[in-house]
């Protein structure tokens, strides 16, 4: 079940209604059952893996909490990490690992055929990290072991954040799982606004630009110059709206139920450096890697060289976390290198400061554009189907840039999906342009007026008529594009991060 489906639009109100009218003593159990049902709407048998991960980390927490012996605590944690990462390895990385070492095995005439036919369970990267984070926190004594299994299981499987985050921290979510929440009007309105914005980002922006992006990236050899640049730019928009849209819906759904999840995006494309980008993009994952891998590796406490190595490791792992393919690893490596270069520049180059406010703003604008270009460059590897395609895009994106050719390329790329209709083409271009502009303005407002507080706050400052006008227009265009999605584009509308 995906958020942008009719099934979820039926499921969610029923769950909300039932949750608030249910007696307090069964509320948590009900939410847990609903979360498991939500997960089982994909491949039901894979719920066993999530249950296994939940039980194993719960028992680990129990064992660690029970003993004061550092050795026993360490062993319990180590076993738990090996078991959970082992599951991740088998289901997600085995074929990648095997395909990578096969050439070496062939050199030594070792003929093997160990390709796995196991499907990647949805959300495995997310709930595994939830569970591991919990057991590490118990080991570090940041939190006590949660004795109530229902509370703990709900923490791992809470459906709004189950399949694509945000990766919640036990100290934030478990206390909320312990409470019984009651209906709150303001919270419900906030939640509904977030869901509407999330749906708009996903259905009207991400899935619509995907029509062009997919056509180009799935047939790169047919395109050069501006067509490739446009595809890269639109992919940056697609992945941002797809993922942040999902997060908005997750946060909104949780808010309605009385839960507060962490924000995962804070206008990342307005970052002035790669370091700042990663403090604003997929915040829950970045902070997880920082707290559970970077800091244990020594962080920046063991000298500059070690710091750069640690940064490099983190970004390689981040790339690998996103997907079992060399393109994702290279994407991660690029970010690691960008980050290290930034550190080196900070270390050895004196920053340029202007007394003039305007010049300072201009400098920030240049930094924002430069950072965005670096991020887009790395996205090429993230999106390309193969390394060969990624290299083709890089090699050809600046050759033969012509705007008349670009118009032709756009038509060619999307026409077949737009029924070869002139009216639809115009509608498509206008709606993409207006939506991206709206997104840009919303992010500017969020960054510079709200100082990265939740953008939902801006609705409270509006007149009621204007508020309802925005709700109405977002809703109408989202529903219209939702119908187009299924009737014309025939896309599944799956979220990109579901693949991870």
């Amino acid at each position: 079940m995906v958020f942008n489906s009719v099934k979820f639009l039926v499921f969610f109100p029923i769950v909300v209604l039932a949750y608030f009218i249910m007696p307090n003593k069964v509320k948590k159990l009900f939410l847990l059952v609903a979360s498991y049902y939500f997960y089982m709407c994909w491949i039901p048998k894979y719920v066993v893996l999530m249950l296994f991960s939940t039980i194993s980390t719960y028992l680990t927490g129990f064992l660690i909490d029970k003993t004061e012996s550092p050795k026993k605590r360490k062993i319990s944690l180590a076993i738990n990490i090996v078991v959970n990462l082992g599951i991740l390895f088998v289901f997600k990385y085995f074929n990648f690992f095997y395909d990578s070492i096969k050439p070496i095995l062939d050199v030594f005439n070792i003929n093997t055929d160990f390709q796995s036919s196991l499907l990647l369970p949805v959300g495995i990267s997310f709930y595994t990290f939830h569970a591991l984070g919990y057991s590490i926190d118990v080991y570090r004594k940041t939190i006590r072991h949660e004795r109530n299994f229902i509370n703990y299981a709900l923490f791992v499987s809470f459906f709004p954040q189950l399949v694509a985050g945000p990766i919640a921290r036990a100290k934030d979510l478990i206390p909320q799982c312990r409470e019984n929440h009651s209906f709150d009007y303001d919270r419900t309105i906030r939640g509904l606004r977030l869901i509407l914005i999330g749906m708009f980002k996903k259905v009207v922006i991400a899935d619509v630009v995907a029509v062009y992006v997919n056509q180009v990236f799935n047939n790169v050899q047919m395109y050069t110059g501006a067509a490739l640049i446009l595809a890269v730019f639109l992919f940056s928009i697609q992945i941002y709206c797809d993922f942040s849209g999902y997060t908005d819906i997750a946060l909104g759904s949780a808010e309605i139920l009385g839960f507060e999840l962490m924000e995962n995006f804070k206008t990342p494309y307005l970052s002035t450096s790669i370091g700042q980008f990663w403090s604003r993009w997929h915040i829950s994952l970045t902070s997880w890697f920082r707290d559970y891998i970077y800091i244990p590796l020594g962080g920046n406490r063991k000298g500059l060289v070690r710091k750069y190595i640690n940064i490099f490791i983190i970004f390689c792992l981040s790339g690998l976390w996103h997907g079992a393919a060399w393109t994702f690893v290279i994407w991660g490596v690029l970010h690691g290198l960008f980050r290290i270069c930034e550190e080196l520049i900070k270390q050895f180059v004196h920053p340029l400061e202007f007394k003039s406010h305007i010049l300072q703003k201009f400098k920030d604008a240049v930094k924002i554009i430069f950072t965005y270009c670096l991020v887009c460059f790395a996205w090429i590897f993230f999106r390309a189907n193969t390394l060969h395609d990624a290299l083709y895009v890089i090699k050809n994106m600046f050759s033969g840039i012509s705007f008349s050719l670009l118009k032709l390329n756009i038509r060619d790329a999307v026409n077949i999906n737009l029924l070869n209709s002139g009216t639809f083409f115009r509608f498509y271009i206008i709606s993409v342009a207006v939506s991206i502009m709206a997104l840009f303005l919303m992010d500017i407002y969020k960054a510079y007026v709200l100082h990265n507080e939740n953008v939902i706050g801006m609705f409270d400052k509006m007149k009621r008529v204007n508020r309802w006008l925005i709700y109405w227009s977002f809703c109408v265009i989202t529903i219209f594009y939702f119908i187009i999605q299924h009737g014309i584009f025939k896309q599944t509308g799956q979220f990109i991060y579901f693949r991870f």
Partner: protein, 318 residues
């Protein structure tokens, strides 16, 4: 506070519904109709003929095998009963085509259904045909089966863009046998079809095969036809079952299978079967451009056969 939320929610939902209703009426009624010359649009003319034709009348329901194979004027002459031919395209779904006959079934009427054989397995409605066929004649939507509402909704944006393209950019043109011009005022196809234009031998891969076997019959369709029979009876009319013409070269079933199919239908259906399926298996020379579409000679032959079957039935009940 719950009440406040519910009221606001209902108000908002109402606003959204009104918006989409405006879009629907705007496109169907305000933008001039663009499909009026199309083959599909004939469904409206045929429906109007049904409404105008006085009882007692014969109402013929089928897919395009009935469009390309029935001369209603000849049926009227041979039986002495006026005939209105609702047959148009199996892609409308036989349920939709059958439902529109309910627009005017009265005492003494004879309703004849002659579904193409594949339709006995289940009738799939092609939203494009229905939406473009109905175009601005929105009262016809009441005959669309409920289970197809989602298909119609999914197709509607395509209809919007195609219609706007035709109205304001490049008007659509319809010609030849698949246009409204190919029909006369009675709703019969009068486009000249003097010979078979399919290649010989016929390629089953390209033109399809015809399976006449009891395994193709679905319980859902049997139940639907029996329900329809009850409706027709309640209107003091009669439902009869006949068979479409089928190209002999592509009929892959044996004589025994065809006989078994017919007996199976006879057992399951409450309405009488008045025709012998085998009589309607014709040679290639009677066909036009598909395995169900007859040429002028074929149409004559089939109409004579059907008239014979109807008259035979009428004689038995007198």
């Amino acid at each position: 506070m719950v009440k406040k939320l519910v009221l606001k929610g209902l108000l908002f939902i109402t606003l959204i519904i009104i918006t989409f209703a405006f879009i629907f009426f705007g496109i169907t009624k305000v933008v001039p109709p663009q499909f009026t010359d199309s083959y599909n649009y004939m469904i409206n003319d045929k429906y109007d003929n049904l409404i105008k034709t006085k009882s007692p009348k014969i109402i013929f329901i089928s897919g395009s095998s009935g469009t390309f194979g029935i001369n209603s004027e000849m049926i009227k002459k041979e039986t002495g009963i006026d005939c209105t031919n609702l047959a148009l395209h199996a892609g409308f779904g036989m349920k939709f085509q059958t439902e529109i006959s309910k627009g005017n079934i009265s005492k003494g009427d004879i309703v004849v259904i002659s579904y193409e054989y594949a339709q006995w397995s289940g009738t799939n409605l092609q939203a494009e045909l229905v939406v473009t066929g109905i175009d601005n004649n929105i009262k016809m939507y009441k005959y669309v089966p409920k289970k197809n509402y989602i298909d119609i909704t999914k197709y509607f944006p395509t209809y919007i863009f195609k219609k706007l393209d035709s109205a304001y950019i490049t008007p659509m043109k319809f010609d030849g046998v698949y246009s409204r011009k190919a029909f006369n005022k009675r709703g019969d196809l009068v486009f000249k079809r003097s010979e078979c234009i399919m290649p010989s031998p016929i390629s089953i891969d390209k033109y399809g095969k015809i399976l006449i076997n009891k395994s193709i019959v679905s319980d859902e369709i049997i139940e639907y036809v029996n329900d329809f029979n009850n409706y027709v009876k309640s209107r003091q009319a009669t439902l009869l079952v006949s068979f479409p013409p089928a190209l002999k070269d592509v009929v892959v079933s044996s004589k025994n299978e065809i006989i078994e199919f017919q007996s199976y239908l006879d057992k399951k259906l409450d309405a009488p079967i008045i025709s012998n399926a085998e009589d309607y298996v014709f040679k290639r020379e009677y066909f036009y451009n598909s395995i169900y579409h007859l040429n002028d000679n074929g149409e004559l032959k089939r109409t004579k056969l059907l008239t014979r079957d109807i008259n035979k039935y009428l004689a038995t009940i007198k």
